[in-house]
């Protein structure tokens, strides 16, 4: 590059990001990585059982359920939305798959369960875009409705999963690696690719960045928004199915409060509630972070109540950084 092409016009109005601003951006981008690394080192030093391969795989396996849903939730957040219904859809997915596996073949039962989750997402998204009802309210309502439907379907009794092929999805291993971990990594790769490399991903970012401007530029923003809720529906049901496979029963009362763990993972990953910004790998780091935290508290025999306190504080700090960032930028 020669000197001329790097020369900036003198009348160009361009505000260089100043030092503290840059620090804030770095903090948002890498804070979750730093947190994971620090926590990892602390646990490696303080607790002897931590560094075993078994324990590490266990941590990742524990992270996988939240992570799989959080990957979809990242799309919803970036498009400027919010989904509280995933915990209930998670239960419905597991229960439906378990129940239907007694009626149909396992693949068909699973397909129907996952599609049912997608349908819930489609309805959520359609209500939000077409009726203009706030995403929080809409998904709070569907959280209740879907939980109720799951209870109705199971009659509040757990449904056994007898099929070994079904069980393998949650409890099996490939070359010593738990199947849920492999599924999580596969879904992550796909979600990362779609978000950062495809037109669809770009439309998701654009919609969250400025919905009306994107619409005027020709993006079908309503479809984009609906599709993100379909994604969380599909993934929540799928994760529910993996969970049912692991514990051997499909039950309607599982996953209560799971939506909050998912949202926490996305938020700690620095994806903004305001939309337009966020990344897949940071969500993955966020999910791993909370799994590490739980594992560490366990190994160190700290009462799990402290884990709640710590999670809450960490969420606040991350969101505070984001909002500080925003304020600085807006006043600039």
């Amino acid at each position: 590059m020669n000197a001329k092409s790097t020369h900036l016009d003198s009348d160009t109005v361009y505000i260089n990001s100043n030092q503290s601003n840059r620090i804030a951006v770095i903090l948002r981008n890498y804070a979750v990585v730093a947190a994971v690394v620090i926590l990892f080192i602390v646990l490696a030093i303080t607790s002897p059982g931590f560094l075993s391969i078994e324990n590490i795989l266990n941590i990742i396996r524990q992270a996988s359920i939240v992570a799989i849903i959080a990957f979809a939730m990242t799309f919803v957040f970036i498009a400027g939305g919010f989904d509280l219904s995933v915990g209930s859809v998670f239960a419905l997915g597991g229960a439906l798959a378990a129940g239907l596996s007694h009626v149909f073949t396992v693949p068909i039962a699973m397909l129907i369960a996952v599609l049912a989750g997608g349908l819930v997402g489609f309805i959520n998204g359609t209500i939000i875009t077409k009726l203009g009802i706030n995403a929080f309210v809409t998904t709070l309502a569907s959280l209740q409705i879907v939980r109720g439907l799951a209870l109705l379907y199971t009659d509040a009794a757990p449904i056994r999963v007898p099929d070994p092929a079904f069980r393998w999805l949650g409890a099996g291993n490939i070359a010593g690696v738990p199947v849920p971990v492999i599924l999580m990594i596969t879904i992550f790769s796909f979600a990362w690719f779609v978000l950062s490399k495809t037109k669809y991903g770009r439309f998701v970012y654009s919609t969250g960045s400025n919905s009306i401007a994107s619409k005027i530029a020709g993006v079908r923003v309503d479809r984009i928004v609906v599709s993100t809720y379909v994604l969380t529906g599909l993934m929540a049901a799928f994760a529910g199915l993996i969970f049912a496979a692991r514990i051997g029963v499909g039950a309607a009362d599982v996953g209560q409060g799971l939506e909050l763990s998912v949202i926490a993972a996305v938020l700690v990953g620095g994806t903004s509630l305001a939309g337009g910004e966020g990344s897949m790998w940071r969500t993955a780091a966020g999910a791993v972070f909370f799994a590490l935290l739980a594992n560490g508290f366990n190994l160190l025999n700290v009462p799990s109540f402290w884990q709640n306190v710590a999670s809450g504080v960490i969420i606040l700090v991350m969101v505070a950084v984001d909002s500080y960032n925003r304020k600085r930028r807006d006043s600039a």
Binding site: L8, D9, D11, T12, V13, Y14, I15, K197, T198, K199, Y200, G201, R202, F203, Y205, S206, S209, N210, I212, A213, S214, K215, I216, A217, G218, V219, R220, G276, E277, R329
Partner: protein
Amino acid sequence: MVTGIPVLAARGVYKRFPGSLALSDVTVEFPVGNVTALVGENGAGKSTLMRILAGLDRPDSGIVERAGVAVDLTETATLNHGIALIPQEINLALALTATENILINHEPNAGLLVNSQKERETVKTLMERVGFSVPLDIPTRHLDVAQQRIVEILRALSRDADIIIMDEATASLGFEAARTLRVTTRALVATGKTVIYVSHYLDEVLAIADQIIVLRDGQVVAIRTPSETDSAELTELMLGRPLSKFITKKKNFHPGKQIAKVSNLSKTRCYSNVNFELRCGEIVGITGLVGSGVSHVVRSLAGVNRSDSGHILVDGIAPKNGSLKAHIDAGVALVPGDRKAEGLLLEKSVSWNISLPSIAMTRPRVIINLTWMHTTAQTVMTRLKIKAPHPATLVRNLSGGNQQKIVIGRWLMSDPKILILDEPTRGIDVGAKEEIFGVIRTFAEEGKVVLYASSEFAEIATVCDRVLVMSHGHIIAQLQGDDMNEHNILLAAYEQKRIENADEC
């Protein structure tokens, strides 16, 4: 002439803003029990004067007198002096009733509890005293705009205001509503109140005012009574010249074939029976005063808002009513009036913003090609002289002019048939303006149509090949050639053609 001490007066007032002298040695008197109208072009100084009289701005020098005594008006002191401003935008708590809005913050009984019965009676007494009424017990959102205005006036009166300043009170009102408000205003002065009436509508001013003060370039150029003047004279006084200095002759212009046709387009409360056609290669202006319906027509044409009836035909295709995407696919592109709210992704890069419409239009490609994106952005940046350090620079960090060039330039790549620009020069400096005019002309020379919506008459006269002038939801004039000058556009736009049932937007 009016005798006695004026209830309010400004004497030798100067007000300077960075880069301009807004008011220069302004002396005006407002006699008690009169309606005094302030008229003038945009930037003539009438809003500054109004703000000073309402205590929102302070004069650099000169004094304001209240009943002959010099006063120092501040926002809070104004009410104590019995002066109330009714702003252009309705300023009510729409979920509350008229009673609650009128008595807000000074409920009749002290203490924590409210006494609804007593409040109603207080308001009723007030309404009887001044002789007009509004429904008291329903949320004010269910009142029409004229009634909402009356609630605002009643609120001012309930605080013992003697002088009421109304800013463009009828700008968004239809025929009936505007008449109601005029009657109300006359009733007000009949009870001894004084009204200062800022308005764009000359016929209205002539009908309602006792005296008319004309401002131009920050100075009082004339004081007239309605009986000694007419709208033609007022227009000349406002402009300060019989004809525009901006006239540029279009060199033998030959429009091409018809590319779009709008027939009988109507939308309740916004516009009705709009008909026009667009031909290849022309720049068509569309203009009018605030509330004339221009932006509604433009937004329906672009597919942002639905129309109620009528047809839009673009190159033989009728895009689905109210579907932005369908209009874009048919070749209609919009550069919206509010570029930050509706035009740009401020937190995204220049190349992201420029390439978005192209990416949205090229169907088969799934994966984003970053190299192509940057090349595209570079091409547009060079062609439109967009000054940004790099295609990856965030749009937020660019100047208004460069931002606007991006909103226009991004459509260069997707090749629309019709480019609609809504107030494209708002908040842009002169240099960038001229460059944008150049870009628009290039666009038209490539055989496309440009529909140029603007409230800047001088600009329209300079840029456009012909202009459609709207008033109260109707196209009331079409001007071209030598007839298309600032003066004629202004005259046409001010023409009162209030239509019954063409209610507020």
